[in-house]
Symmetry: D2
Subunit: 449 residues, 4 copies
């Protein structure tokens, strides 16, 4: 099967010079990344989070960037057939493929990824989003980021749908990390809520990154896909774009996200900032939140705990709380003259912006001790969980683990104890990987003694 | 709870004279009908097909048509609370309420319901649809009517969703009779198909009638609701508006629909007409179609059988067949100069147009014999099944049965035998009523001997 | 030249029954009216106000209403060629032709034109406008009616353009009587104002009537054409639809319009009504307004004079005054709960609603005396001027005058003296007819003595 | 008068980094350019082509780029008051101001203006247009560039309107150089043509350059303003964006444009290219075209003459010829796979791309001799006329002339003779400058002998 496609969006309008650059990128070391991300979106709807398995299955898949007189074409060889209807690609997938072309080959190559200076990093994050047409200054500001596990049980999944439904009924748009579980449920629910309210322009934004897109490909409902270069810019994009954050049960990734937002909100310059953060799940998940809350209390303290609200089993209340919070957010933004669609005024310490490369060496170096100030502690905790996510589902990380064995996670006894307990509960609850395979931990908790 | 609403659509723009007429209608014998239909749409999403039960539950519900300087307001007292979000009515339900006002109080009172002449009846059907803005000459013609039971099993329901999904992927809009089961599944599936194809203006048309709206209220996905005055105009509306018909498993109502369309397509003047008719269900429902097919063969003959295609357990093939059929339909319409959005050229015999009132007397009079020509036989069979639907779920019919016992269905031995078998299989398969209550037949098959 | 056209708007969607009625109307005595109005809009842009001359020029023009399977077609024989571009009709003219079909053959035949009761007449007026889609409840309310002569000098014409431009800059939409002079200038000016403000949906509504459309055909800028059945409903439509009225210099027709609105605003029930009325013209036209103002003062009194503002040679001030007035209008409508788009609350006495047929007998009967109450006086004065307009430019009136000589206009000496002076000044200023022909008065002022 | 404005378009969405750069640019040597261009668009509708006079009149005008939390604001001090309505800036002028900000401070600073290589220059031209959202791949391709003098007589002006009207009736969009005369007439005419055809999205693109915008500010109808960095990129933009070119009478600038397009179309690689070029004017301008045609014949030869069609006094024929040409253009583009909206395949020699700086030295160096090949001759002739335009109306050029006296234009006797005659006829016909001032030539024709 050979197919040629016109890209959509701003990839429709390129000069020969730009097409030349695209082709050059496509034949560089970026090619594999480009090919794999394209494969991931073509394979949307698949039921595995094992990137390697997907790549194995479609070994004869090939993609090329062709130059034609008026611009560019994408040529596919042996793509997954379920991306097509009667030989024609599904429009949403064509859009996602165009987003991959745009973000991996066109946009990402425009930046120096060793950027110094927080302002530069923030500008890059903003520019990628703007270039993806994801910031719409003339629309109602009402974007809720939903975080949570890709591997959650059915009761939890139904609950994320219910929360999405209640948000959709109230006109909220949804942003998640792309993928199944808590990243899909809220979008699905919101779709129904939007339909009932005749809200035709509902947005379902998926923010992802190259290293996770295969494990968590954009679900079919994602109407806008943006691939940020790394998890740090992805997290910054979530936080600056959205007007509130909901955190569902999840595993290491969700813990990373929670630590990220708490670390930021604890920054002294952000004291006046308004950003509703709600932790929520069905009654059955109450233990999960108790454990998380305890961990936060023991590590980052009461002040961190006061930054979020835990709501158990009450989707309507979640949506109402978010709506009340939205009003405060907008009032605050108006008062300080900030944009309604990108939170420029939020201070993000560079410790949270610079990419953390989860090698065994870096993981070992990332000590977790009570000596550190709370912000640095949060930053390091975030890094550790980030590393565990990489070891679990990111292609690079999996290879590292295979080669060198599990990461050592080191720190003060007391924190390590809490951490161990938390991680073990994630494992027990099957939050680390989709059920079906037995989970082999990619980390070893080491106590400093 | 007291709430006042502005109606939407063309009910926004009324003269005092018209508002006066609305108020008069609302305080006439139409009031009950108006109140009940309004209650039905407010109660959308409920899980019973027992109209009486709903009416019982909301005895203190009250609705009034208020005259204000600039037009009309709808005043609700004690409406079902789940129609509201934070005290504000859900937009889709507000639209449905406006449709009830429009169709029951405004439109229906404009016609003489004892219309003579097929052309007058067709004009009325057309005028009601046009007045509801349901005929959109500037849009792509691609409307598929889906018929089938409101009470189907889960495998069948999933299958109707899959068919809707495959239709949606191919850009088809969906028209059904409003309600659960086979009337909801295709719409839900199409919603996802449309979303994937970025088809933002998907239409989910619900055609209903006053006597069945409570038992089968519009599901939340219905984006356009039209209440036709009776089942005959409703069937005519389905057939003239749509470009193809899919029939899923169902009970007496589905049989009525099948007999209606076959009776019409058998008319000599319709020989050249193009209208794809597909009977389809999951593999598990194969026996159902065999029985129906046998019944049609034995009563209406091979020619009738040749008018439809049976496709078992292949949703994709259903959608592809429909797409191929659509092309033939449009080619034919173009050739004869007919409208793409209303099939004027189709001949519908008056026997299928005049309302059949299923009293015991009329049911008894409706003989089913082999002496009749095929068209009359189809017409009478249609009437008999129509009566059984009334006895099963329509308020008037239920009262009649309660008072006088089951209808007698009379006719030639052989047909009665087939009919008895067919109806008993419907009962056995729980197609007559939603599961949960035991079904007591509203009919008695009497053989002429 | 033979051409067949599809009608636009709601004439696109007709049942065979309705097409049958259209054809019947088209072959009845309405045919001539239909043909002549169609000819008038096809001849848009012509430079004569002599309807008879136009009809003479296009004697071989023929129009037919054809029935096709899917509705109706308009067949034209020998139409004016400048209505076509490369053999294709200009879209705006196609719309106007469809409006003629709609209003003359379809809408007007639906009413009983001997309607009793003001409410019925108002409903008819409303229904015709609604049917023409001229009342748009979801748009900004900001419609200014501009009245004034079709025959004005170039300085006045430039001034009407300037006023239109200043209105357009402030977002006002324009409604006039269709035709050249003061009916075209404000629309042209507003077009430029709208363009500068990027106001893409500017409305240029032309309200006309069958008896005057040929003399004053819709100018090319009219984006919505509505043909009211008679001058009385046309005047009611102007007044109820608009949020303010500007009166430029003009002849008998403009006097009729001024008397109409003053007569209505003098009604005791309209005391609280808000409706800005501005008389305006260039410095050169000052004498004109002095004379009009004097006439109003002498006949209807100071209270009538207080209802309007005269602004000389200051287009910007006219627009600003109108804008300030608009706010008062909307505040008032909100306060009493009236519609923003149709002034239901305005009381119009039936004396102003019933069609006045300007026969010699009726003109003679319409006495003008100081014995009458002010409202009746205004009503009769309005009728007299209406008769003079008919005698000047309406086909029927011209024939009457040709047959029976000038109308006698009778009344108290003092009023007749004023009237004579006013009318003579209209003649002297060439306001009665377009320059080029000598004006022969169609009236004779008779003093009661 | 102090006023702060939000910019529109993509200037609404800037990062603090970008705002910082804007501010830096605004306080650099670019400031004067930025201020003057802003003043020019604020002064739109003025009646002088004397840039210096405008700058003198508004000496106390000041503009600043302010940084606010969410982006940027434009602060104006003592702007021309006619850019405002009731204290609010006219939307179209706000758009033009935003275009100045975008093009002068934001876009132009992104390029290296000493670009080597034609592909780079073409990319820059494309990128500026794309960034201005002027290339719309999803719209009908139908853009006509109209060139001609800013100073033309009234008969010619009326004719340009008539041509614009005929183009507008046929759905063409218009692109001109911004300014009065032949740059305004076609847009005005097209506006009426579009209105009659209900073509709501008519485009009136104005392409200008910093050095001429004050002398020829965008007329009020320009709906899209793009400021190209120099005349060479401006000419390239005209030619690559449009589907046909119409040349009205004009002076040195028009001669430059004609020589430019002929020079390009004579390139061997462009032999198969389709691009209709029409020279047209009223009957009264016939002599003008005869002279131009003779000059082209004598210098560039018959082949050059065969590239254009001269149509005298027949606006309808111009539009019809353009329409027939458009079809050929699109057929050709389709055939070679080129874009419908940007003519990538057209070869433009670098001689036509590199900016020519009209100093006395450069002018003297630009010899015009028959020894040269035709393409080089066309290129040099283009440069000479370009220099004369600069000396006539561009601020820099006027200063040069004031300092050093007229340019010497040198070349072969025979060509100089023709050139002298041509230029003198431009002077005699008042095509060099707007009437009112006496024209003092900025050049001296020197014959090589």
């Amino acid at each position: 099967m050979h197919i040629q496609l016109n890209p959509l969006g701003n990839m429709k309008l390129l000069s020969p010079l730009e097409v030349g650059q695209l082709q050059q990128s496509a034949s560089s070391e970026l090619y594999n990344l480009y090919r794999n991300c394209s494969l991931a979106v073509l394979n949307s709807g698949s039921h595995t989070d094992d990137a390697e398995a997907i790549y194995q299955q479609f070994q004869d898949f090939n993609i090329q960037v062709l130059r034609v007189e008026r611009g560019v074409k994408i040529a596919l060889e042996n793509p997954p057939t379920h991306a097509f209807v009667d030989g024609k690609i599904i429009r949403g997938i064509q859009e996602h493929l165009s987003a991959v072309l745009r973000d991996i080959l066109f946009t990402h190559t425009r930046y120096d990824h060793n950027l110094e200076g927080g302002a530069n990093i923030t500008h890059t994050t903003f520019d990628i989003l703007r270039n993806a047409n994801a910031i719409l200054p003339d629309t109602e500001p009402n974007l809720v980021t939903c975080w949570g596990g890709h591997s959650i049980n059915d009761i939890e999944y139904q609950y994320t749908k219910e929360v999405g439904y209640q948000l959709g009924l109230r006109g909220f748009n949804i942003c998640t990390g792309c993928g199944p579980g808590a990243m899909k449920g809220p979008m699905k629910g919101a779709t129904i809520g939007h339909a009932k309210q005749r809200h035709k322009d509902g947005r379902y934004i998926g923010l992802t990154e190259p290293s996770i897109i295969a494990a968590e490909p954009p679900n079919p409902i994602v109407s806008e896909l943006v691939i940020m270069p790394d998890i740090e810019k992805r997290l910054e994009a979530f936080v600056r774009m959205s007007h509130g954050i909901i955190i569902f049960p999840g595993g290491a990734g969700t813990a990373e996200e929670l630590l990220y937002i708490l670390g930021i909100m604890l920054h002294p310059k952000n004291q006046a900032q308004k950003l509703p953060i709600i932790l929520t799940g069905p009654a059955e998940s109450m233990a999960y939140f108790e454990q998380i809350d305890k961990f936060i209390g023991a590590t980052l303290g009461e002040k961190a705990q006061s930054l979020y609200t835990i709501i158990v089993n009450d989707a309507e209340s979640v949506a109402k709380t978010m709506k009340a919070g939205l009003e405060e957010v907008l009032t605050y933004r108006k008062q300080i003259g900030d944009s309604y669609h990108f939170n420029w005024a939020l201070t993000i310490d560079e410790a949270f912006q610079h990419p953390f490369n989860p090698t065994h060496e870096n993981m070992a170096k990332t000590e977790i001790t009570f000596d550190m100030d709370v912000a640095s502690l949060a930053a390091n905790l975030r890094r550790v969980f980030s590393g565990i996510v990489a070891g679990n589902v990111k292609s690079e990380g999996i290879k590292e683990i295979r080669k060198h064995g599990p990461f050592n996670v080191t720190g003060d006894d007391k924190i390590m104890e809490l951490m161990d307990a938390l991680l073990q509960s994630f494992v027990a609850q099957q939050r680390m990987k989709l059920p079906g395979s037995e989970y082999v931990p990619c980390y070893k908790v080491v106590r400093n003694g």
